[in-house]
């Protein structure tokens, strides 16, 4: 993976010193909270319901063992012994004191970590495929381009005071594991017929109050022009995006009001006038970055591991884990290990410092020192030998990290909700826990198969409910928590916004309603259909009947 050189490190140090200085001015009263707010936000520091929350960037979701251990240490030293992995593949610590923040940033910088641009109206952490460099189906390694974007977007002089936050996702595989189409900019890497690598550039996707699926403004942008083209997009947005209403300030609103075609035309006109050579990375720099990600040290192994197969036959728990949490690796004899942070009764995305240390040790011993964070709030060991999986599984199991539910009904995305967040209308975590409890019986979860349930505690949609196969949105009805259900959303390559099922349900009706939906699905299902497939085939009617018949 990419390791920071002297220049990268120097920028982190300078940034950390700058923030230390700003915090001391704030604590001394030389700055108002209004003036300080955007500065702390650009360093990832939010003021939440109970305390400051520090959001640490995990650029494109990639961590070394050393870095994960440092995060564990921060959780132990400055928080209550855990951290929370987010849908932006970052990590949040929820119990931070303002006066500790500069020391934390220094401690992070020692491990090449930082909180730069994890908040504020700037270009946020770029996300990519958690299986990058491990999956056989990618056209190129998307981390190369994510790192190029990381450098370009860091402390960008022109784009640090945008109308609103700005999120970019890069994917290089036909199976989109990044939700690229619901990003401000989604980049899909592909090879053209002539073999040339290019990006399909999609803009204006997003969730929140006004959800949109991104629209393509360029079918094939030659990869070397990525940064100059992004500059053109950001410049048009910075100049024309609305600043009078924060709910209409995202680029999706600009794209929708101009129309994607007109927006694309303006971007192309701007791009034509930009000095590309000044902005785009030279081949030497791209080669340097690419070199940092190339791995040639996979062992030549047989595709089959007798130990792995024997363990699978002997141990039902292992077999279930292997079935749901392992994904095919491009190198024979290797596999991708997904670590679920959605145990029954747990908080989606939470991970204790002890668990982080366990994962870091496993990555170091068995996983080429690499860990990834997924936008579905799980972890990944991308390169593990099949021979080593039984030992990795045993260690994960001992640490409560072997929940075999990747992409199943209990692998739920939920925002922090009313338990932590000042914006929320309703609780999200207890709803997730109640639903997960119903699928704790592995046979049922397995029978239902892939089912993505996503829960947001308010219309800001941090839990991505619009793109859940089943989406759940917390709303406030005269001071009571109610929940609006949507069906048929998807954040993947088949991206689509969910359809409203019917009237909102009371808190204690939600979990029974999910049961009713699943029962209706099992009745309607044909062959190996996923919930989503069945819904798209039969529509709302049987589901509506099931839930609202049940409710009466």
């Amino acid at each position: 993976m990419y390791r920071y050189d002297a220049i990268d490190k120097s920028i982190l140090t300078d940034r950390s010193n700058e923030f230390r200085h700003q915090v001391s001015r704030r604590l001394a009263g030389d700055m108002t909270e209004d003036q300080f707010k955007p500065l702390r936000l650009m360093n990832g520091l939010y003021l939440q319901l109970h305390a400051y929350m520090l959001r640490v960037a995990i650029p494109y979701g990639a961590l070394s063992s050393n870095q994960l251990r440092r995060l564990a240490w921060i959780g132990r030293t400055y928080d209550k012994g855990y951290g929370h992995f987010t849908t932006r593949t970052n990590i949040q610590f929820h119990w931070i004191k303002l006066r500790d923040a500069p020391d934390i940033l220094d401690a992070l910088a020692e491990a090449d970590l930082h909180a730069i641009q994890t908040s504020g109206n700037c270009i946020r952490n770029t996300t990519t495929d958690p299986y990058a460099g491990a999956t056989a189906d990618e056209a190129d390694d998307p981390r190369v381009w994510s790192e190029a974007i990381r450098q370009w977007s860091t402390i960008h002089p022109e784009f640090s005071y945008l109308p609103r936050k700005f999120k970019i996702a890069v994917t290089a595989a036909p199976e989109d594991r990044t939700a690229a189409k619901v990003h401000d900019v989604g980049l899909q890497l592909r090879r053209a017929r002539d073999g040339q690598l290019g990006f399909e550039v999609m803009v204006g996707g997003g969730l929140g109050r006004t959800p949109y699926i991104g629209q393509t403004i360029r079918e094939h942008l030659p990869v070397r022009h990525l940064l100059s083209y992004l500059t053109a997009i950001l410049r048009v947005y910075n100049r024309l995006g609305r600043r009078d209403n924060i709910y209409k300030a995202r680029i999706k609103i600009l794209v929708a009001s101009l129309g994607a075609e007109e927006f694309g035309r303006q971007v192309e006109a701007e791009w034509a006038q930009i000095d590309h050579d000044k902005v785009d990375l030279p081949d030497t720099e791209l080669a340097r970055i690419r070199g940092a990600f190339s791995r040639l040290d996979f062992e030549a192994l047989p595709a089959i591991s007798p130990l792995f197969d024997a363990t699978r036959k002997a141990d039902q728990g292992f077999a279930r884990f292997a079935r749901n949490n392992l994904k095919p690796h491009k190198a024979p004899g290797y596999t991708i290990v997904n670590i679920s942070l959605k145990p029954p009764g747990g908080v989606p995305g939470d991970c204790s410092s002890e668990q982080m240390d366990v994962v870091a040790d496993l990555a170091e011993r068995f996983g080429h020192d690499e860990i990834r964070v997924t936008h579905e709030q799980n972890l990944v060991l991308p390169h593990v030998r099949l021979d080593d999986v039984p030992e990795v599984y045993a260690a994960l199991n001992a640490a409560g990290l072997a929940t075999p539910n990747i992409s199943l009904a209990s692998d739920i995305i939920a925002c922090p909700g009313l338990d932590y967040c000042a914006l929320a209308n309703a609780r999200a975590i207890p709803v997730a826990q109640a639903i997960a409890a119903r699928f704790a019986e592995p046979e049922l979860a397995q029978k239902v198969g892939e089912l993505k349930i996503k829960i947001s505690g308010c219309i800001n949609a941090c839990g991505h409910h619009h793109v859940g196969h089943i989406g759940i949105l917390g709303v406030d009805k005269k001071g009571e928590e109610y929940y609006q259900l949507t069906l048929g959303g998807s954040g993947a390559e088949d991206a689509r916004l969910g359809d409203v099922l019917g009237p909102a349900l009371a808190y204690d009706q939600v979990a029974p309603a999910i049961d009713a939906l699943v029962d209706a699905f099992l009745k309607e299902r044909q062959g190996g259909e996923r919930f989503l497939d069945t819904y798209l085939r039969v529509g709302l009617t049987p589901f509506k009947a099931a839930v609202y018949a049940d409710a009466h």
Partner: protein, 175 residues
């Protein structure tokens, strides 16, 4: 107070320009700084009289509207109605990079030292800080970073060019 940047030095400067409000009569001589509308009304007369003229642009007045006048202008002042309103950064970058404007580009309005780094990199070379910043404070904030990642309107070499200059001293790293 007016602060100017010359060859990486930041110092206080006398403001030679008189700011004219909408219908305020112009003084008999000397440089004037006016709104775009006033410039469109009276600019030609002042310029033909050999006076220095500056224009204050609001964020919703695109720099493109000044394209043909720029060679005759001594100063373009770009307004930050709130420090969070970042449109003037793009305006400054366009003035310098697209139109090759070599006159003064001044930041006016809600101008805070925390933004100094961004302003200098986008091509601003004069500042009216609204937070009482001294030139020393301004310079510290503007030049805090020893390295930068992007090419911008200033003359700083981005990291990728610095690395190129280092040649084989910084080989690709891999684990």
């Amino acid at each position: 107070m007016l602060i100017k940047l010359h060859d990486h030095h930041v110092e206080t400067a006398e403001d030679a320009f008189v700011v004219l409000e909408a219908d305020e009569p112009a003084p008999a001589q000397g440089p004037v700084l006016v709104s775009l509308a006033r410039f469109q009304a009276d600019g030609d007369a002042w310029l033909s009289a050999g006076r220095k003229v500056g224009v204050v642009l609001q964020p919703d007045e695109p720099v493109e509207g000044l394209a043909y006048d720029l060679p005759r202008l001594s100063l373009v002042a770009l307004t930050f109605p709130k420090f969070r309103d970042g449109r003037a950064y793009s305006a400054a970058a366009l003035l310098r990079e697209r139109y090759g404007f070599t006159g003064e580009v001044r930041a006016v309005g809600d101008v805070l030292r925390e933004q100094a780094h961004f302003m200098v990199r986008c091509g601003f070379d004069a500042f009216e800080p609204s937070d009482g910043s001294t030139p020393e404070q301004w310079a510290r904030s503007a030049f805090r970073f020893h390295h930068v990642y992007q090419a911008a309107a200033d003359d700083r070499a981005p990291a990728f060019l610095e690395r190129e200059g280092a040649g084989s001293a910084s080989p690709p790293r891999s684990v």
